[in-house]
């Protein structure tokens, strides 16, 4: 497993937060933030195909990792008939890394999630659009959100609201926190620690 370099997360160079590849990912991150569930965006890349020389030909980077749940989440807004390629990669990932817990959110799942939260208009908008968002929008609308500090606390092992004795509703502090470059570096160190435990390549 590889740890992602810094650059894909921050094409703007400001390190203000992850540049989501798709609007659905940004929306999903907002939902997780809302419910104070720690997350990381594409923290790990898993090689899934090598040539005879051992070079990685294909890899898979699940969109989200939820450290408290030890769960990877891959989102797709593709229609069901178009997700065969992603399904194949996911099967391969599960074969090579059976210890990984990963959930694929199909378009219908994301649509149901949006329906649950009264955001069906957004789900409809995503169908038929490329769904790009810009890094600036990401920084402004997503990472100005409140959960950055909680994520930091989680990574630093200082309690993150997931503790069985915490009182999330009573927490006033993180309300205006912004994810800082320090937060991201700490998150990546956490990813590196995890990488060390999983191993670099199952074929090695």
């Amino acid at each position: 497993m590889e740890q992602r370099a810094d650059s894909p997360d921050d094409p703007s160079g400001t390190d203000a937060g992850p540049a989501f590849a798709h609007v659905s990912e940004a929306e999903f991150a907002r939902i997780l933030d809302y419910y104070q569930v720690p997350w990381q965006y594409e923290p790990h890349t898993f090689p899934i195909l090598w040539n005879l020389a051992g070079d990685v030909l294909e890899s898979f980077s699940p969109d989200f990792f939820l450290p408290d749940a030890d769960l990877y989440v891959e989102l797709t807004t593709l229609r069901q008939k178009l997700v065969r390629k992603k399904n194949r990669k996911l099967r391969r990932l599960r074969e090579l890394y059976p210890e990984l817990r990963i959930k694929l959110f199909y378009a219908r799942d994301f649509r149901a999630l949006m329906l649950k939260y009264g955001r069906l208009v957004l789900a409809d908008e995503l169908s038929g659009t490329a769904g790009h968002i810009t890094p600036s929008r990401t920084a402004a609308s997503m990472l100005a959100g409140p959960f950055g500090a909680a994520r930091l606390a989680s990574e630093a092992g200082q309690g993150d609201g997931s503790s069985a004795t915490s009182d999330p509703a009573g927490r006033d502090g993180p309300g205006d926190a912004v994810v800082s470059p320090v937060h991201h570096r700490r998150r990546r160190r956490g990813a590196a620690r995890r990488a060390a435990t999983v191993g670099a390549s199952p074929s090695a």
Binding site: A21, H22, E27, R30, I31, L32, D33, Y34, Y35, Q36, V37, T45, P47, V56, L57, E58, S59, S61, L66, A69, L71, V73, L75, T76, T77, L78, R79, L82, V83, K85, K86, K89, A112, L113, L115, K116, Y117, G118, R119, L120, D124, S127, G128, T129, A130, G131, H132, G145, P146, F147, S162, S163, A164, T165, S166, D167, P168, A169, G170, G175
Partner: protein, 206 residues
């Protein structure tokens, strides 16, 4: 002006009938009564969806019960939300410290709200905290939580009735039904399904 909601014809299928619900409520009530025999119990219901279940369940429990109600905000994606965090809209009316607490839910799907509530309630130092849900939709689970009493495990379908709503309606149906998709969906666009993450990747990249 929108046409009025047609409670019956908007439902494509009855998933759990009224009789099935009532039988299950009696069964759960008996189990809970046995598990808490000799003790008293505080039932905490989460507004609004679990109200009918709570009302029926409490009458099926034979040990002494107190009830309390909570309401939490739901994600709406609005940029006008002041904090961007889930909020307690209605808190408990009495302390649950050292009390045996049973959290009563209508449905668990992602587990996000329940996860938040469990953390919140545990912070109130109850003697014990268990979870009872009428419906469990595990296919959509994001946060795993131990559920102690489950009525029905259902497939990943959009259900209404017996407290469950769409647009605040359908709660008063006496059964749990599957809403016809055309009630809540609009025709999807045909063009350009592709998203960047699913385009052919370069070698070595997802």
């Amino acid at each position: 002006m929108n046409p009025p909601v047609d409670l019956q014809s908007d439902v494509a299928e009855v998933l759990v009938s009224e009789d099935q619900i009532q039988a299950k409520v009696r069964e759960l009530g008996a189990r809970i009564s046995a598990d808490y025999a000799g003790r008293q119990l505080t039932l905490v219901s989460v507004l609004k969806g679990s109200l009918p279940f709570m009302a029926d369940l409490m009458r099926s429990i034979t040990v002494p019960v107190r009830i309390d109600l909570m309401e939490v905000s739901s994600y709406g994606g609005s940029s006008t939300e002041s904090s961007g965090l889930v909020r307690i809209l209605k808190d408990l009316s009495a302390s649950i410290a050292d009390e045996e607490v049973l959290l009563v839910e209508d449905i668990i799907d992602t587990g996000l709200t329940l996860n938040y509530l469990v953390r919140y309630l545990r912070g109130k130092n109850p003697a014990s905290l268990r979870i009872c849900t009428l419906l469990d939709k595990p296919a959509r689970r994001l946060v795993e939580i131990q559920v102690d009493y489950t009525g029905f495990t259902i497939d990943d379908r959009f259900v209404v009735g017996y407290g469950l709503d769409f647009g605040e309606f359908y709660r008063n149906l006496r059964y749990v039904g599957v809403l016809r998709p055309e009630v809540y969906s609009t025709p999807p666009a045909d063009a350009a399904d592709a998203e960047p993450a699913d385009q052919e990747p370069a070698a070595g990249q997802a």
